[in-house]
């Protein structure tokens, strides 16, 4: 049974997806222009998963995200200025330039950090779930991860623990068909990652991850279960990673044809089409949203580029509270 989504919310969902898409595209451009040190991992094509799940969360709910986490952070309400400043290593960034793309966090929004270790989020989300239980609140903790991470030991430990203690956790697997250069079809023992949930006595749900309303519906149900104390759910959003594993990836492990095929399954185009059919979105509104988002990103870039670099000595700070 689909719960109804308000018009306002529909538009907000769309706008957020546009923001993520444009942010990621911009990040790719900044990276190509040599403005982002290190490497970045873009989530273009996976917007429905981030936005759909985060749209049913409260500000005090927790998420743990991954090296491909820009979309999750934006969906959870992250500040674009601080994000770009962090990407280019300025001291006004979320982590004062100490984290970079793979380690963005905003604890005020319940974002427990992006992790550079694949599968590093599971143990932390168990801790968050346990903490919610011990404190007797009705918060929920969400762990975003990829198909590759579901092969790590930490995934299995976490599924088991979350199950036995009925922790209020939503495990969201964004199955985007590849773990770096390795196809899911090769590395995973099951076709649907959600099938693994059965082994832990947890409900597992597979969803068309590029259908934002479907994602939102499934996530909403799982979150409600968790809040009621009924325990964790494993939600598998089937989607596709449109760019390489990292920017600059030669992508020899897949064909252009395959990528092109998935472009037709673009979550933004699909949702725009749905909205237009429901007359909730016009061509002008689309353009207006694009313009606004472009403006916000432009401001964010300007803010970041005008920000100071951190002093070298700051590298020694933020170790201990009591040194």
């Amino acid at each position: 049974m689909k719960s109804s989504v308000s018009t306002r919310e529909m538009r907000r969902l769309y706008r957020t997806m546009v923001t993520i898409r444009k942010f990621e595209t911009l990040a790719g451009e900044l990276f190509a222009a040599g403005k982002i040190p290190g490497f970045i991992h873009l989530s273009i094509g996976q917007e429905a998963s981030s936005v759909g799940v985060c749209s049913v969360l409260r500000p005090d709910d927790y998420i743990a995200t991954t090296h491909r986490g820009h979309g999750h952070v934006i969906a959870k309400g992250g500040d674009l200025k601080k994000m770009i400043a962090e990407l280019i290593g300025r001291k006004t960034g979320y982590c004062k330039g100490k984290g970079g793309s793979m380690h963005i966090a905003d604890f005020s929004l319940g974002i427990l950090g992006a992790n550079g270790v694949v599968g590093g989020g599971f143990p932390i989300i168990i801790g968050a779930g346990l903490s919610i239980k011990l404190r007797h609140t009705d918060q929920v903790a969400v762990c975003f991860f990829g198909d590759g991470a579901s092969n790590r030991g930490t995934f299995h430990e976490a599924m088991n623990m979350a199950s036995i203690w009925k922790l209020p956790i939503l495990f969201v697997c964004e199955n985007n068909c590849y773990a770096s250069t390795t196809p899911t079809s090769y590395a995973c023992s099951v076709t649907n990652i959600a099938a693994r949930a059965a082994g832990y006595n947890i409900p597992g749900v597979t969803v068309d991850g590029n259908d934002i309303l479907a994602v939102r519906e499934a996530a909403g149900q799982a979150v409600d279960r968790a809040r009621r104390g009924e325990g964790p759910t494993l939600l598998e959003n089937k989607t596709y990673r449109r760019r390489g594993h990292f920017e600059g990836d030669p992508q020899k492990y897949r064909t252009r044809a395959e990528v092109a095929e998935w472009e037709k399954n673009d979550p933004l185009l699909r949702f725009a089409s749905v909205l237009k059919k429901k007359k909730l979105l016009t061509g002008e509104m689309e353009k207006e949203i694009q313009k606004q988002v472009d403006g916000e990103l432009k401001d964010a870039v300007a803010f970041a580029e005008q920000s100071e670099w951190p002093n070298p000595e700051e590298a020694l700070e933020d170790m201990f509270i009591n040194p």
Binding site: H103, F107, F122, I126, G127, L130, S131, I132, A158, I321
Partner: protein, 326 residues
């Protein structure tokens, strides 16, 4: 403050009872804790006294530490029991990559008030996977504090301090010391992190030690006194942050040092202390700094073999005589 003789195990219990009564955010998680209050009885009475706050977990070290970490990030003050220090390896990512780095990596946004507690040490024929002393690994992971007490009073005082500290602390305690008794003050007793203790003053040589090495050193010091060599035994207690000032004051007086630890020699904490003494106290040294440690092999099972590998009182005496040229 009046003192009474209690064992390390009782000291731990006291520390935790007091702290858990004081702060509801404190809980303990680990394997096999509820039935007997821990495999060494170290949490005896706590599961009953604080229902729901001593949590048995499946054998999932990564997620045990992760549970502690995630809870620490979201307002709690957990103590994670590693069962045996040897199993830290199963959670190295969570300890070294996550716990140690999160505060720094995220620009100081959050604190990590986590205590990772691990019984370690050899001498019980527990063999290679249940006998290690791994504290020096964690010296090498910036972002962790490392505590290794020896006497019950320090176990109690430092555990309380570690729990109250807002930074992550990894706390090693020798298995053999659970039963060891020692004087512990009545009432509130907290030993600050980062402070060494001169437990036996002397002018002839500085012995730097911690954990089980402390007892070896004290015994050696008694014997050395009979030879007219008065050893100053310093129990380091906290390895990181290290109280180098106390070490320096002593070496400036005695002009020579011997480091004693049960961990194996190569890359052991003695190497780190030695290097620091060399660079900061060179002009005060009358002899090179010597280290007394276990041999560089996994801990063997058979008692004779194990005994051969581990450092002994006579090794300490020999080293002291070398640096005092006696």
């Amino acid at each position: 403050m009046p003192e009474r003789m209690i064992s390390c195990a009782v000291a731990i219990c006291e520390a935790l009872t007091e702290e858990m009564a004081r702060d509801e955010a404190i809980f303990i998680i680990g394997e096999d804790l509820v039935a007997h209050g821990g495999i060494f009885g170290q949490f005896k009475g706590l599961p009953e006294r604080f229902p729901g706050r001593v949590i048995d977990s499946p054998i999932s070290e990564s997620c045990i530490v992760g549970a502690g970490l995630g809870a620490a990030l979201t307002g709690m003050r957990p103590l994670v029991d590693m069962h045996f220090a040897d199993f830290v390896t199963c959670a190295m990512d969570e300890i070294v990559n996550q716990t140690a780095k999160i505060r720094y990596m995220f620009g100081g946004q959050v604190k990590v008030p986590l205590v990772i507690w691990a019984p370690d040490g050899a001498g019980l024929s527990a063999a290679a996977h249940h006998s290690q002393s791994l504290e020096s690994w964690f010296i090498h992971a910036p972002g962790l504090k490392v505590v290794v007490p020896s006497e019950p009073a320090d176990v109690k005082g430092l555990l309380k301090a570690a729990i109250r500290d807002d930074d992550p602390v990894i706390f090693f305690q020798h298995k053999k010391l659970f039963a060891r008794e020692g004087p512990v003050p009545e009432g509130e007793h907290i030993v600050p992190l980062g402070k060494a203790a001169v437990k036996r003053p002397g002018g002839s040589v500085t012995i730097l030690t911690y954990g089980s090495g402390f007892y070896m050193s004290m015994e050696a010091a008694n014997e050395l006194a009979g030879m007219g060599i008065e050893a100053e035994v310093i129990d380091l207690r906290t390895l990181k942050p290290l109280d180098f000032e106390t070490i320096a004051d002593s070496i400036k007086k005695t002009n020579r040092a011997v480091v004693v630890h049960e961990a194996c020699l190569s890359g052991g904490f003695g190497a780190e202390v030695s290097a620091r003494i060399n660079s900061e106290l060179f002009d005060y040294l009358d002899a090179p700094v010597l280290r007394v440690a276990a041999k560089d092999v996994p801990i063997p099972f058979s008692p004779r073999l194990e005994n051969f590998v581990l450092p002994k009182v006579e090794d300490v005496i020999k080293a002291v005589r070398q640096v005092t040229y006696r």
